[in-house]
């Protein structure tokens, strides 16, 4: 009797399974519309409030159609550029002057002499603070997409996302060397740049730091192009960087900590020189979803300037 029951149940189960398989195959419901691989970031967008160490203290709306880049000089004057314009503000946030440019500038850098270096996609224009063109450095090649510029007293470093390389020029615009080209013998991994976000800076002690966004890494080079050190933090959590390529932009505080901005998970954070997370400046709730290219700058008081290209604001954050 017991055996009969077991067999009956087993056979019934078998027929049910076969029926389910048939139903699944012949069913007309659309199986693909429920996306099992949906890119959900909701949980990752939540940030522990204890980690947020900055307050937003000021917002400035530049009189410009598409602000894209920001830089601060040694007098804490800050310069904003984007579509057809450059605006200069004093340290209090009041506009001092502005001038028009013919096209869109994607990166801006002010050197010690007060010259303004602008990336016009594939070439560099150097202007004085009245907008007069002092020099034009022609495109290195047709694929160039210049996304960041940094200067020292003798050198200009140009991050070219199109060619995935950093160019080292002298002040006359003569190419000295290329930095970051893949070289397994020298231990240089090469830049992985899937999208046009490729930032660099000259940090404290005059060190060149370059983001390797595809590796979620920061790489420190000497001016001859030797890799001195690097760190990387890949993580979906707040401690690291995620997505195809992050961080998109960087700046440096006076203690050598890195200010980073990310896309995908829109947030601005501070990482210690070792790479470990120090604190958060602003989380995803502070930005419109989908915001990319939050350019950063830091003044002498370690206030953090975030250029928000979607809300078209210069947003100033100060430590709590």
């Amino acid at each position: 009797m017991k055996q009969k029951v077991i067999i009956s149940i087993s056979l019934l189960l078998l027929l049910i399974v076969i029926f389910l398989m048939g139903k699944d195959f012949f069913s007309n419901k659309n199986k693909n519309q429920n996306n099992p691989y949906e890119y959900k970031l909701d949980n990752l967008k939540h940030i522990d409030p204890k980690l947020i160490a900055y307050n937003e203290v000021k917002q400035i709306k530049p009189d410009m159609e598409d602000p894209l880049a920001i830089d601060i000089d040694h007098n804490d004057q800050f310069y904003v550029t984007g579509k057809n314009k450059v605006i200069i503000y004093n340290s209090d946030g009041n506009q001092i002057s502005s001038f028009n440019i013919d096209s869109t500038a994607y990166a801006i850098c002010v050197n010690n002499k007060g010259d303004i270096l602008l990336s016009i996609l594939d070439h560099i224009e150097i202007r004085n603070n009245e907008g007069k063109v002092k020099a034009v450095w022609e495109a290195f090649n047709k694929n160039s997409v210049i996304t960041s510029i940094a200067t020292t007293e003798k050198s200009v470093f140009v991050a070219d996302a199109g060619n995935k390389i950093v160019y080292h020029y002298n002040l006359n615009g003569e190419l000295i060397n290329e930095i970051g080209k893949k070289d397994t013998i020298k231990g240089i991994p090469g830049f992985i740049i899937p999208s046009p976000y490729f930032d660099l800076l000259i940090g404290i002690h005059g060190k060149l730091w370059v983001v390797n966004p595809g590796r979620h890494a920061f790489e420190n080079y000497d001016f001859e192009g030797n890799l001195i050190s690097s760190w990387e933090r890949t993580s979906m959590q707040i401690e690291g960087f995620s997505g195809c390529c992050n961080p998109s932009n960087i700046a440096m505080l006076s203690d050598g900590s890195f200010v980073t901005s990310e896309k995908g998970l829109e947030r601005v954070k501070i990482h210690l020189p070792s790479g470990d997370l120090k604190s958060v400046v602003a989380g995803p709730e502070s930005f419109v979803e989908g915001t990319k290219g939050l350019d950063l700058a830091v003044d002498s008081k370690d206030r953090i300037y975030v250029l928000d290209p979607v809300r078209k604001l210069i947003r100033i954050f100060e430590k709590k």
Partner: protein, 429 residues
């Protein structure tokens, strides 16, 4: 004890898949702006040429060893350990692909679609078990097929089922075979692979539904041995036919049967044909009458089956993605989606093909299904007819013999036979 150890070992391997739940991707999925869904993986990464050749050698070696163990050595223990090897190598190491069961679809597709280039290893995996079956019976099923051997290990409390039920359920693999061939021939789908219940275990990755189905098959297999092999496997159906002509099939007794009946209930698959007593032999006029009846009924069943199959050709074709797309566009139903345009329609619009071209293509596929429906239905009718024959024809038998078609050559029965080749005279005495 060894069997229990083997089961524990396999359960540990299967449970390793839990780790997948904790896996974190190093990088998140790419951010497709089109909303493209990454399709679930059906096949593992292609194997290197060297490994593919090694697989064929291992297959030949395994088939040879199992055939030798079954036919010559008559060793159940040997077959059992080969089963473990098959589960580990052909199952977990090869991730179950390409398996002989699924390869019949590749063969069909290659025959009907000249654009499809079939790898030589796939041909080998299809043809070698058939050749061995032709010589030694279903030794492939016994200890080489990872799907069968996995179930075999779980056959802990096998119970016999009625022979008529066995025969009726035994029709399902032939229907499945017909469907699999039809869908492969029309380049619609590889149904066998899609609903392979154990591939998820071997790859440690499957949908919840397939894990459930695999688990249920193993659970059923505890009481009804090898349910997939007996009541679903289409390749098994093919081997069932081939094995009937096998040259050297396993025998229960190595010498003359002494009718001790010890083996009578030894087969968990109900594949032992019992002796038919002389008094049960039917009279000649009755046999002739039945022969005449069957020669009318079988063609009729083929015809009715074919006609019925052809009537359902549109339903059968509706599974084809192009036919489905054409239907959705024609009826403007957008795959039942109300909030957004269905991905398939977006992809079609982006591809630049005109609707007329698609409709013509779909019409051609439906026509293929019309002829396919006739053939499939006729085939099912034939299977019904032959099952009817096997249920009604009494074959005179003096000994307990394995049924060459349904016997899986597992060699369980030989352990029950007290007859030894070298002392058969003593036992007879």
């Amino acid at each position: 004890m060894k069997r229990k150890l083997a089961i524990v070992f396999l359960l540990i391997i299967i449970s390793l898949q839990i780790y997948n739940a904790f896996a974190i991707q190093r990088f998140p999925k790419p951010e497709f702006e089109s909303g493209h869904t990454q399709p679930p993986t059906i096949t593992p990464d292609p194997r290197s040429n060297a490994l593919a050749i090694l697989d064929v050698f291992v297959l030949v070696a395994a088939l040879s060893i199992v055939s030798w163990l079954v036919v010559k050595k008559r060793s159940r223990k040997g077959v059992f350990w080969m089963s473990i090897f098959a589960v580990l190598y052909f199952g977990f190491f090869r991730e179950g692909c390409v398996c002989s069961v699924g390869s019949l679809q590749n063969i069909t597709l290659a025959l009907f679609n000249p654009e499809y280039s079939i790898p030589i290893t796939v041909i080998a995996f299809f043809i070698l078990p058939i050749i061995y079956t032709l010589f030694f019976g279903r030794t492939f099923c016994a200890g080489v097929c990872p799907l069968g051997t996995l179930q075999d290990i779980f056959a802990l409390r096998p119970m016999p089922i009625k022979s008529w039920l066995e025969k009726v359920l035994g029709i399902i693999p032939f229907i499945y075979l017909g469907l699999a061939v039809l869908y492969a021939a029309t380049s619609t789908d590889f149904v066998i692979c899609r609903y392979d219940p154990f591939i998820g275990f071997f790859r440690l990755d499957a949908s919840f539904m397939m894990f459930m189905i695999g688990g249920i098959f193993l659970l059923i297999g505890v009481f009804i041995a090898r349910p997939y092999c007996r009541f679903l496997c289409p390749y098994g159906a093919l081997l069932n036919l081939v094995s009937r002509f096998s040259k050297k099939h396993i025998t229960i007794t190595p010498a003359e049967c002494i009718q001790c009946r010890l083996c009578e209930d030894s087969c968990p698959f109900g594949a032992i044909d019992k002796p038919v007593l002389l008094k049960e032999k039917e009279e000649r006029p009755i046999a002739v009458r039945r022969f005449v009846m069957l020669s009318i009924i079988i063609p009729l069943l083929i015809l009715v089956g074919g006609f019925t199959g052809a009537q359902f050709h549109e339903n059968l074709a509706s599974v084809n993605s192009k036919v489905r797309l054409a239907n959705e566009l024609l009826n403007n139903t957008n795959y039942g989606e109300t909030e957004q345009e269905a991905f398939e329609i977006t992809a079609f619009n982006a591809a630049g093909q005109s609707k007329e071209e698609l409709y013509n293509e779909a019409a051609s596929i439906i026509r293929q299904f019309y002829y396919g429906g006739w053939i499939l239905g006729g085939f099912i009718g034939l299977v019904f007819g032959l099952t009817l024959v096997s249920l009604s024809v009494f074959k005179y038998r003096e000994d307990y013999t394995p049924n060459k078609g349904t016997c899986l050559s597992c060699a369980r029965c030989v352990d029950y036979c007290p007859v030894l080749p070298e002392n058969k005279v003593i036992i007879q005495k």
